[in-house]
């Protein structure tokens, strides 16, 4: 069979969804970097994951992707969108752009996306649980309660995350996302 006559079928471009997810990944990626400096829980999770840890979250096969990891100085950094040439300890891949859109438009929480078998986890499963915890925490800071409640299993009570800490954290994280990181 001459495969050149029948070229590989590529998934549709879905231009606007791809743009939306790319923007969300940029915000969430930089949000994680900022939250690791502002929030104790996120900081503790990255400490547990060790010095050389990095992870990518993206849509297979063609992206978009985001890469976050700990740099040589031990600081959590957003490392861009291109996974090529990077040593990545954990790869979280969403199986297609539609599934990614459900997750990033908060129609499907991370847990439900796992339950619907939307993710491929290449790497350590315990590490992926830490990253899910980090993503949930960052979403709580970045999003209003109505949207964040849809994205996480349990929105933290006042005793777990006092409102003052949450709002100050939100302001600091947004400032860092759009300025110094």
């Amino acid at each position: 069979m001459n495969y050149n006559v029948y070229p590989e079928i590529k998934p549709g471009k879905k231009f606007f969804k791809r743009i939306y997810i790319s923007i969300m990944m940029w915000v969430v990626g930089r949000g994680i970097q900022a939250a690791a400096r502002v929030d104790k829980v996120v900081k503790a999770e990255f400490l547990k994951l060790g010095d050389d840890f990095s992870f990518s979250l993206g849509v297979v096969p063609d992206g978009p992707f985001m890469i976050v990891g700990t740099n040589k100085k031990g600081k959590v950094k957003y490392m861009g969108w291109n996974p090529e040439g990077k040593q990545i300890s954990l790869k979280l891949c969403i199986k297609n752009i539609e599934a990614a859109f459900l997750v990033f438009s908060f129609q499907e929480s991370t847990a439900i996306a796992f339950a619907h078998n939307r993710f491929i986890v290449d790497g350590d499963l315990p590490a992926s649980l830490s990253i899910v915890k980090v993503l949930d925490r960052v979403e709580i800071y970045l999003l209003p309660k109505f949207f964040a409640s849809m994205a996480v299993k349990r929105y933290p009570k006042w005793s777990e995350l006092p409102p003052l800490r949450k709002y100050i954290g939100r302001v600091l994280i947004y400032l860092r996302v759009f300025t110094i990181g």
Binding site: A115, P126, L129, K153, R154
Partner: protein, 425 residues
């Protein structure tokens, strides 16, 4: 009925069930183009003479099967080390397939060995995660000797990384064996207390499959009939171990439960059970039977209608009809606690009802109270928690463990509740 907007279900293992089903092995191996299987089992199964029954069944008239090697050194908790060792044995002996005879540990070990011998490599840790196994593995026949794990039809292998004291989860449809054979001779000699614990393990699979996040209409139907079969036969079989029809019914219940949870996954009960197993090396079935009522109580605010529905297969139509709708969920949980109490009596006290009752061979407590915080810590690294309807943090896990240690029902007011309830769409 809960109908998810999206689900996946796969149950492609051929199942052969009967009182003399093992005699099909030569024919099955021939169809799989295999002649020289590595038999993987443990010392208990081997000493019980079950391997002789299996190898005897392989010597049919026109059988071309030649056993490559019998590896009966699988420990009670499957480990990365034993998997790596047996993969070397498989290659040295020139085997072309695997016949695994045993409970959860040999099954998980065999799946691990099959990954290495099919895909290459010397270290199983290179294949951890959910996307690392990418092609069909070598032929494998699974012959369970307990009616519990359902591992013969599951896409999961739980293998301990001894260095880190955690149980690693390997997940792939390629881990499914080609054929599972249920033969009543394989479970007939199972001691009473193991029959009790493994039976409760199977019912836990079904109950968690029915109430956790990846549930779907197909996993519900298999879970429903699994609960019914096990609930109807478990106590009778523990009291009358020679009841081979009851034995086969339990094996069928366990395999249905396996199909169910393999497609809908499990939650808090397995999350904590895996952690207890990793820290204290407690048999999995004992953890499951103790933790099941606690898992159902913990999630009750999100799964109460589903737990209520389980009363029908658990207790039968009369009890279900006689119980007011509002009380069915709590009655189902009480019924499971009653099953544990009945099994405790039927096994002469060997079936533990709370964590402090689990004893080792020297009558020493296996789960001392001061290990609970370490167990809770390890539970935060276990993948099962993601499928639990309610969030489970370290504090939540510790609270449930403390109640389960003492054997007191959970105080529902202490359970933190929140978020959107996906199961009540």
């Amino acid at each position: 009925m809960f109908r998810p907007k999206y689900y996946e279900f796969c149950a492609r293992v051929k199942i052969i069930s009967g009182h003399r089903a093992l005699e099909k092995i030569p024919e099955i191996l021939a169809k799989l183009n295999a002649k020289k299987p590595l038999i993987i089992t443990d010392k208990g199964v081997s000493k019980a003479g079950l391997i002789k029954v299996v190898t005897g069944a392989m010597k049919g008239n026109k059988s071309e099967v030649k056993v490559g090697f019998i590896a009966d050194n699988v420990p009670p908790d499957s480990s990365v080390k034993i998997v790596n060792e047996l993969a070397q044995v498989y290659r040295k002996k020139g085997c072309d397939s695997i016949v695994v005879v045993g409970g959860g540990s040999p099954m998980d070990t065999a799946k691990g060995v099959n990954i290495l011998v099919s895909l290459g490599g010397d270290d199983l840790l290179n294949y951890k995660g959910t996307g690392a196994i990418t092609k069909k593995l070598n032929p494998m026949i699974a012959i369970p000797t307990t009616s519990g794990t359902g591992s013969e039809v599951t896409l999961v292998a739980v293998i301990t990384d001894m260095d880190r004291s955690i149980k690693l989860l390997f997940v792939s449809y390629f881990l499914l064996p080609d054929v599972a054979i249920l033969d009543s001779r394989m479970t007939e000699t199972l001691p009473k207390f193991i029959t009790a614990a493994t039976g409760m393990d199977a019912i836990t699979h079904a109950c968690e499959a029915y109430t956790c996040l990846a549930k779907n209409p197909l996993s519900d139907s298999t879970a429903f009939f699994a609960i019914q079969l096990i609930s109807q036969h478990l106590l009778n079989v523990v009291k009358n171990p020679g009841d081979i029809n009851g034995r086969l019914a339990l094996s069928n219940g366990a395999i249905l439960a396996g199909m169910s949870f393999s497609n809908s996954m499990v939650g808090l009960v397995h999350n904590l059970g895996h952690a207890i197993g990793a820290v204290c090396h407690v048999p999995h079935g004992s953890c499951m039977s103790i933790l099941l009522p606690y898992g159902l109580e913990y999630n009750l605010h999100k799964t109460s209608p589903l737990t209520a529905e389980m009363l029908l297969p658990l207790a039968g139509a009369k009890v279900y009809a006689d119980t007011p709708k509002k009380e069915r969920a709590e009655k189902a949980i009480k019924y499971i606690r009653q099953m544990n109490d009945d099994l405790y009596v039927a096994t002469g006290g060997r079936h533990a009802r709370c964590l402090n009752e689990i004893l080792d061979k020297d009558n020493k407590q296996m789960v001392p109270r001061d290990t609970l915080s370490a167990i809770a810590e390890v539970s935060t690294l276990d993948g099962a928690k993601i499928y639990n309807p309610e969030e489970v943090t370290y504090d939540d896990a510790l609270m449930v463990l403390e109640y389960a240690w003492e054997g007191k029902p959970l105080e529902l007011s202490k359970v933190k509740k929140g978020g959107k309830n996906y199961l009540r769409q």
